[in-house]
Structure formats: C-alpha cells, structure tokens
C-alpha cells in the first residue's frame, strides 16, 4: 500500500543526513516502480506527484515518463492535471515519447471544457516540439478566435512558441494579430503583444506590415495612462493601471518606431504624456518610466523627447532604491551610443556608483564609465579608475584592470602616458592583468624605441619596490633582458639632472631575488588559499600572499594552478633574460652562467630544455653568432600597426626612488632632448604640456620632490627646439629590418614567451647562414609562420557609405562598410570587419552569408580564422554583391557565424537589413 504524498514529504523532511534522504527516496522510488509495473491505475496520479517532488530534489525520475502520458489520456481532470504537470517537468522537448502525446493533446484542445483546453495549451506552450507544433497549429489557430479570453490568451502564447519552433509556419498567425491587438481583455492584449514581438524578432521584414497598428496600440496605452480603461481597476498595482501591459505596449512601440521617422512622430505625443504623467514613487511607475525611456532612445524621437528621457534617467540615478539606479545605469549604457553628450552631464554621479556596495551596480557603473571615456577625458577618468582600483575587491579587480587597459590603449594621448599608466596598473594589480594585456604592453614598448631607456629604468625601480605583482615582474624582466644595456649605460638623467647609475650586478641581484622567491611554498600556500577562498570568497588579499611571505600570491581569486603557472611563466622570462644579458653585461657572464645552471634541472620540461640549449649557446662554438642571436627583438608587424601616429611623449625620467645611486656628473640634457617628442599641434601632449601642468597631470603617482623643476626646464627647451627637432623614426635595430618582414609572432606567445623570441631571432640567423652551420640547437626552433596576406584594396571610384553595425552579440561585433561600384551601380563591395570585445580569442571563425535570389554574392577568404580578443585587431572579409533589383529592392542578408570561444562551439544567426537603400 503506497503512502500519501504528504507522508513522503514528511519522511523526507525528517531525514537528518543526505544519506538518510537518499535511502528514503530509493525505497519510495522502488515502490513507485513496482506500482507502475503492476498498472496500478488508482494511485498512478499520486505516484507521479511524488515523482515530481523527487525530481525537484534532483533525483532521476525518467521511469515516470510513460505514466504521465497515461494520466493525460484519463478522463478525470485531477489525473489529467498531474499528467500534464509531469509532462512539462519530467520530460523535455527532446524526449522521444513526447510524440505519443500529440493525439491526447489534440483531443484536449477540442474538449468542451475551458480548463482542459487551458491545460493542453499550457503544456504545448511549455514543451511543444516542432513535430507537435506542426500537427497542432490548426487547433491553436482556431482557439485564438474563440470568445473565451481564458483560452484566447493561452492560445496566443502557444502560437508564439510554434513560430519559434517551426520556421515554415512563421506567418501562419499573422492575420490573427490585429484582432488580438484590439482585444479589450488585458491579458489577451498582453499575449498579442508578446506574439507580435516574436514575429518581428523572427522576421524583421514584417515590420512594415504591422506599423499601421501603431494608432491602435497608442489608443490602448493612452486609455491606461489616463486610468479610464474598462475593468482597469482590477489590474491596478500601487495605483498604476496594469504596468505590465503598459510596459509591453511600449516595447512593441519601440520595435515598430525604430528606423521610421513617420511612425516615431506618431508616438511622440503619447510617449511625452507617459513620461510626464506617470507617478515615479513606486516600482510599478518606475517600470513604465524605464520602458518609456528605452523606447524614446530607440526610436527616431525628437530631440526634446530625448532630453526628457535622459532627465528621467538622471532622476533615477539619484534614487535611493538600488534597483532603480541599476536600471538607470543599464539604460545609460545604451544611451551612450546614441547621445554621448547628454550622458556626460551625469558623469560624476555615474563614477560615484563605482563605490556602491552592490557589486551589480558597480559592474554596470564600470561599463558605463568605460563607454564614457574619450580622448578628452581619458586622463581624469583613468585617474578616477585607478583610485577605485586601490579600493576594489579582488572579484572586481580583473574587470577594472581590463577596462582601464582597454581605454588606455584606445585613447592614450601619447606613448609615454600609456606606458606610465599601464605600469601603474601593474604595480597596483599586477596579479589581475590578463596575458593578452601583458603581451600588448610589450608590443607597445617594442614599437616605441624612443622610450626604451625610460621604460627600462621605470620598470627596474618599480619591480624593485614591488615584487608581489606577477605581471609587473614579467614585463620588467623582459625589459631588463632586451634593454639591460640601456639601463647600465648611465645615459639617462634623473630629476636632479644627474645621471642614474645602475650597475650590472644590481640588475642581476634583482633578478636573483625574484628568482629566489619561495615559489613552492607559494604554490602550497595558494592551494590552501583556494580552499579558504572557496569558503569565504572576498576575504581581501587572499591567504596566498601572507602565507607565502610576500611570494607570488595571486590574491583571493587566483587558483593554485594559475599561481603555479604564472610562477613558471616568470621563470621562463627569467632564463631568456639572463641569456640575453650575457651579451649586454659581458663581465657578468660567469655569474649568469651560474644562475642558468640550476634551471637545467628544472621540473618544467620547457624550462629545462631551454636552459640546456642556452648552456650550449654559451659554448665557444657560438661566440661569433651569439651577439646576433641575442640581439634586441625587432618591432613586429603587429607592433607597427599598434603604433599609429600617436606621439611618444616625454622620455625624461621624472622619478627615481631614493635607493638609486647617482653620482654628480655633467648632465647631458641635450641627449634627452633628442628623445623628446616635440609635437606642435594646437593642444600638444607630451613635453609642452608638462610645462603648464607641472607635477600633477602626467603621472598619477609622481613624487613631489624635484620632478617639476626638471620638467619645466625640459618643457622650455622643447619649445625652443620645436621646429627642428623631431622624434627619431621608430625603426628597429637596423640590421634586423629584413627580419621584421618575416612577421615572426611577438615575443610573447602565451605560454613560453621569451624562448619564442629567441627562437625567432635564432631562426632568422639560421636563414642568413649556410644550413650546415645550423647546429643542433637550431633544430628545435620551429618553422616561422607565414606572413598574413595583406587585405586587397577595394576598387577605386564609386560611392562609399558610412559603416554600420550588422551584428552585435556576445562580444562579437560585425561592421559592414559598403562601397558602390563607380561604373555599375548594381555592383557593390562590403568590407565586413569582425571585432571581438570579449577577453578570449574566437578561433575557427567562419562567417557565412545568404542573400535573396535577386542578389548574387561572392566572398573573399577572411584575413584570419581567428578574431583576437579585446577588440585589438579586427579580422576582415570582403564580400562582393550584385543587386539585380537595384533601386527597387534593398539588399538583405542572412548571416551565420560559427566559432570556438573558450573551448565552446558557438553558432549565431542574424539578419542584416540596414544596407544603404541605394545599393
């Protein structure tokens, strides 16, 4: 005899341990199975109900699937009801037995009782698969026209699922929508709007067909906003008439008004009315206001209306309710793209939200703040963001760091400032900097030869003071290897006009200290740290740092693996740097050799192998070649593209920690003058600017002592010399020009960066000499990647159109730039540019397009099969189109994009209908 449902629940609740609970459930499941096997009709619905409860707790219940179908076929309502609930819970739309239920659902749809119809519609709307939808479309269509609103509303939503699931019945329900939109029942109107939204989403070309119902919708909205609608009082929430329906209608208006000035004009009055008349004291009113603003921003609204909208958001930002502030920030993020100026007015309020205790609000505020950054305000905004970086919790830091670095890359006024800021970021949060950003920094340094001396000094002293930030250490070590000679040459001059003297042994001391950091201990500690962090994430700093004795801790969020990895990566950097220093510090070779030796027994295969190779390279056989192999990295192609015409800025050294030794000696300021970038644009960044803002603007953490004087002096000199002096051309070390053309990937190919750099140089050396002399070590250097094919230039002549966004989802943005052929207006070319703003690369990227019959299409291969993260380098692809109906029909395009992102296959579809009408 089976127990009652209530009894089962009570038994489960009485369990004290998970094991006890499992036992109770296993026993009950066994009994239910037996009952099912014995075809126990009487208790079947009770057993299925029990299974539903068991299912909710997460236990397998698939054996109950067939029983649901039997219950649905029952004539008793209570049994039917349990059956349908089981159907939607215990099955999913891929379950094969689902097909067997189609007939029962069909019978129930035709049942005389409305509640039975309701059950069937509900189940179909929740779980209907394409086959069921095809088979039952006619029934649903009929039910949409019945007089009972209880059935009409459910049928409309059922239709919505059907058009989503089955392509070919996409417009089967279109003719029913107008009636639904005129319905006086709120729920039916609500469902009608939902159906219409789905239709427009699936088939944007239906837009024009439905635009003529705008007046109908406006009327309904007006009635509600005036609170005179029939039966309206029942829908009141906090004194507002049916906010749900108002929101839904506003949303439909948003879709219908987008892109049409005439339709938007029709809506202007009602939107203004809603925006001014709705009471914003309660959540319901704010929901309407919020939706109204979104509609205003998305349609082609009058400027007055836009101002009204932004003002509402401004009011929202001041609201005490967190929810309201959150949605205001979300909306502002969209508004930024429409009307940047209006949002700038609220900048300080937005920046304040970065301090909010709520992480959701902080994240949103960060997104908006980032969107607000432009050339004019980059310095002040970055300063603000760096301040927040100091206070931010570990879970927020990575986001913040990425955003700062992206903004700096995009808008830095000069290289000097860019490098300064990035170093500052790495000093503050070097453990949260992603590898791509680190690599990017190195590219920038490489491509700015006039700042090499400056950068290596700055990094040397920064690393010396700060040995816990892994990324800082890595780029610092890299710079020491590349430019160590510049550091010890004594050519740089400090703020007190005395040369800065760093001896080779000091450099090696620093590398040794970093090398001797207790790494194993750190790894062990951060394993413990991880467990601690899992328990109470957010405990500031994480246990790794403190337990590891100032080791290479990764902070609270880093996992043990990550920590171990980055320590290894640092070691990889160290050995290559040591190797490079053998030619730069010839007197220190014995010491370096000693340091390198210990790595030949490293546990890491990569490091051990490199160490052994380097040991070979130090042998006499290589004496002649060594200099060339270990020469400075040439600026890569990528680095060259990075350095747009941005000025490099002041190269003088304005801060030297007191630990540095400097001896009084005749300063060679003029040398530095050569390095100065003397830009004569109206608002010159770099040297001249320093003159007017001494000591505060350029570097966020400049010490107040002495720095200003030097800058003043330099600034003055800069002014005098302006007409004649210029920045040296950013060419790489002369003999290596030819190598640069080989486009050997950067020095930092993810896992083992410096070796790759050495490999590149060595492989090039190999190419330059007869192959017979290429000894054994050269064998291990892999082939060089072939240079990327340069994009072919579009044909000259013809008419160009401004670029537009064709697709924007999940961090992938596709922009189309159209160009019409000069001689034949039917022909046009589209330059598709793919930008990946996410933090991981999109590999195996394939872009496909389909066009209507009157258009023919051909595509060139894409410039790369990978779209680089952080929107760094867009991948492009050229599409040629011939529109045989040019002038009559616009070009439309369906696109399919597939790529692998974070090891996951992604496939996206889209439709592009924003092509210029002239094409």
């Amino acid at each position: 005899m089976s127990i009652k449902l209530r009894e089962l629940i009570r038994n489960i609740r009485a369990c004290k341990t998970a094991a006890e609970e499992r036992a109770v459930i296993a026993k009950e499941c066994a009994e239910i199975r037996t009952a099912f096997k014995e075809e126990d009709n009487h208790y079947r619905h009770r057993n299925v109900a029990k299974l539903l409860f068991i299912h909710m707790l997460g236990y397998p219940t698939h054996f109950g699937q067939m029983e649901c179908l039997k219950l649905i076929a029952s004539t008793k309502f209570a049994e039917k009801r349990v059956g349908y609930l089981g159907l939607t819970q215990l099955l999913d739309e891929n379950t094969e037995v689902l097909m067997l239920v189609t007939n029962s659902v069909k019978n129930d749809l035709n049942h005389p009782n409305q509640y039975v119809n309701g059950l069937a519609l509900c189940a179909l709307g929740n779980i209907g698969n394409p086959e069921m939808c095809r088979a039952l479309a006619r029934e649903v269509e009929n039910l949409m026209g019945v007089s009972n609103p209880y059935i009409r509303k459910k049928a409309a939503l059922c239709a919505m699922r059907m058009i989503r699931k089955v392509e070919e019945i996409e417009d089967k329900f279109n003719h029913k929508i107008p009636t639904l939109l005129e319905d006086r029942n709120h729920a039916v109107l609500l469902s009608g709007c939902a159906l219409l939204i789905t239709v427009l989403e699936i088939n944007p070309s239906a837009l024009s067909e439905f635009r003529r119902y705008v007046p109908t919708l406006i009327r309904a909205l007006k009635n509600m906003s005036m609170s005179g609608y029939a039966n309206a009082s029942e829908y009141d929430i906090a004194g507002i008439t049916d906010p749900f329906l108002q929101v839904k209608i506003l949303r439909v208006l948003k879709l219908l008004g987008h892109g049409s000035v005439d339709v938007s004009d029709e809506m202007n009055d009602i939107l203004a009315q809603v925006a001014t008349n709705t009471e914003g004291a309660k959540n319901a009113g704010n929901a309407i206001l919020y939706e109204c603003v979104q509609t205003i921003m998305n349609i082609e609204a009058e400027s007055g209306l836009r101002v009204l909208g932004v003002n509402i958001l401004g009011r929202f930002l001041m609201n005490r309710d967190n929810n309201i502030r959150y949605v205001a920030l979300t909306t502002l993020q969209h508004v930024v793209t429409v009307d940047m100026k209006a949002v700038q007015r609220h900048r300080s309020t937005i920046v304040d939200c970065l301090k909010d205790p709520d992480v959701s609000i902080r994240k949103r505020a960060l997104d908006v703040t980032y969107a607000l950054i432009n050339e004019e305000n980059i310095k002040t905004m970055t300063k603000e963001l760096l301040n927040f970086l100091l206070m931010a919790g570990p879970e927020f830091k990575e986001d913040l760091v990425t955003k700062i670095c992206l903004a700096v890359d995009r808008f830095a006024p000069n290289r000097r400032w860019q490098i300064d800021t990035l170093i500052k970021v790495m000093c503050l949060a070097g453990n949260f900097v992603q590898t791509q950003i680190r690599d990017n920094f190195i590219y920038v340094v490489m491509a700015t030869p006039e700042l090499h001396t400056y950068t290596v000094h700055k990094l040397f002293f920064s690393v010396k003071e700060n040995q816990t930030q892994e990324t800082l250490i890595q780029v610092g070590i890299w710079c020491l290897g590349e430019f160590g000679d510049l550091l010890v040459s004594g050519s740089a001059v400090g703020p007190d006009q005395q040369p800065i003297k760093v001896s080779p042994s000091e450099v090696l001391d620093l590398i040794e200290t970093i090398d001797r950091r207790p790494t194993e201990q750190t790894i062990g500690a951060s394993v413990m740290g991880k467990t601690a962090a899992a328990g109470a994430a957010g405990s500031s700093g994480g246990g790794a740092n403190s337990a590891g004795g100032g080791g290479s801790g990764v902070g609270g969020v880093g996992s043990a693996v990550q920590s171990a990895n980055s320590a290894l990566v640092t070691q990889e950097y160290i050995i290559t740097t040591l190797m490079k220093l053998t030619t730069r510090f010839p007197n220190e070779v014995p010491r370096i050799r000693g340091l390198l030796e210990k790595y030949s027994a490293s546990m890491s295969l990569e490091i051990q192998q490199r160490a052994c190779e380097y040991e070979q390279l130090l042998g006499n056989t290589w004496d002649k070649l060594r200099e060339g192999i270990l020469d400075r990295m040439p600026a890569s192609e990528r680095a060259k593209t990075l350095t747009t015409d941005r000025p490099s800025g002041d190269a003088s050294i304005d801060e030297v920690p007191t630990t540095a030794n400097h001896h009084p000696k005749g300063g060679d300021l003029l040398d530095l003058n050569d390095l100065l970038d003397l830009d004569t644009r109206p608002a010159p960044p770099g040297g001249a600017v320093l003159n007017s803002h001494p000591a505060t603007q350029t570097s966020p953490h400049k010490p107040s002592t002495g720095g200003g004087d030097l800058l003043d002096l330099l600034g003055g000199l800069g002014g005098e010399l302006a007409p004649s002096a210029g920045a040296p051309a950013p060419t790489a070390a002369s003999g290596l020009d030819a190598l640069a053309d080989l486009n050997l990937g950067g020095p930092t190919l993810n896992s083992h960066p410096p070796p790759a750099a050495a490999a590149a140089t060595a492989a090039a050396a190999d190419a330059a000499r007869p192959p017979s002399t290429g000894g054994d070590i050269l064998d291990i250097f892999g082939g060089t990647p072939s240079p990327a094919s340069p994009p072919t230039a579009p044909p000259a002549g013809g008419k160009s159109f401004p670029p537009f966004t064709a697709f924007d989802k999940n961090g992938l943005q596709i922009t189309f730039t159209c160009k019409q052929d000069g001689s034949d207006p039917k022909r046009s070319t589209v330059e598709a540019s793919f930008v990946n703003t996410s933090t991981d690369a999109m590999s195996a990227f394939v872009f496909e397009a389909a066009v209507p019959k009157y258009v023919t299409l051909s595509m060139d291969p894409a410039s790369a099969s990978v779209v680089e993260p952080f929107g760094l380098t867009p991948t492009t692809q050229r599409i040629s189109l011939v529109n045989s109906a040019q002038g009559e029909k616009p070009i439309m395009m369906k696109i399919r994009i597939s790529y692998t992102h974070k090891d996951q296959q992604v496939q996206e579809f889209g439709q592009v209908s924003d092509f210029p009408k002239e094409l």
Partner: protein, 156 residues
C-alpha cells in the same frame, strides 16, 4: 522571455523549479546551486535585486530576485523582459499565493508544491507572462477546484 523560475529557501533547498528554456534535467540542479550561491551572498538592504552570471546563462540574461522571509523568489529572464516589470510580477505571484494559502509560509509551498505549480501555470506560460490580474488567476483556480470536486476525485 523568462528562462527559469526558482523558489529556494535560505538553506538552498528548492521549493519550486520551472525551466522554460529547455535546460536539461542534469543541469537544473547545477543552475539551482549557482543561483542560490549568488543570491544568498547578497545582503538584503545593500543590494539591488539584479545579478548576473555569464558563465551559467550566457550574455543575454538577468537574475532577478526578491527575498521574502525564508524564501528567495528568483526569475532568470532575457533582455526581452523589463527588470522592474518582473519585480512586480514576483509581487503578483506572492500575492496570489498569499490569498490561496492565507498567510503563505514555506510549509505551504512544501506540502502543496503541486498547487504552487498550477498557480504559476496561470501566471506564466512558456516563459511569457499570461495573466497579471490576481483576481482572474484566483477565479480560474476556483473554477478548476469546482470542476475537480464535481468529478469527486481525490488527491493526496
């Protein structure tokens, strides 16, 4: 649309779970746990009712929740729904539960989990809001009750 609705108590025990986006059964418990971890960590007075978890739900989603006494009412929705609107919807849902059970408490939801599901079916269907008027929902539920008792079936 609404992707899923979860009611979970302060200890992380599920009291109602409905998925409208075809989330496979094996994943449902994972979603429950992650969502619970997110909402239970946020303090009631300091935080807004919105959260996100891109790893779990992808780019286009929002986790919207309200905390009443011992229960979290969590709705995961995509950008086609208004965040503030969903907060009102949670209000309506709770209001209907309250009038059905008279001063609803967690125990009602446990012992009548089936009934809670039926109530939800009258408000949300296929991930879309179907009815927002509490009185209409109540009268439908009463109609169904009458139909059941006229068939003299029992349930328990």
């Amino acid at each position: 649309m609404i992707r899923c609705i979860i009611v979970v108590n302060n200890q992380g025990k599920p009291r109602l779970m409905r998925f409208y986006d075809g989330t496979p059964h094996e994943r449902q418990q994972h979603v429950l746990k992650t969502v619970y971890n997110i909402v239970s960590r946020r303090s009631d007075d300091l935080c807004c009712c919105f959260a996100e978890d891109r790893e779990l739900f992808g780019d286009d989603h929002k986790i919207i929740y309200r905390h009443f006494a011992t229960l979290y009412f969590v709705f995961v929705v995509d950008s086609a729904e208004s965040e503030l609107g969903i907060l009102d919807l949670i209000q309506v849902f709770v209001q209907v539960l309250d009038s059905c059970f008279e001063n609803v408490c967690e125990l009602d939801l446990i012992y009548h989990f089936d009934k809670v599901n039926y109530i939800l079916d009258e408000i949300v269907m296929g991930g879309m809001v179907v009815e927002t008027n509490a009185e209409v929902v109540m009268s439908a539920l009463q109609g169904i009750k009458k139909l059941e008792s006229s068939q003299s079936s029992f349930f328990g």
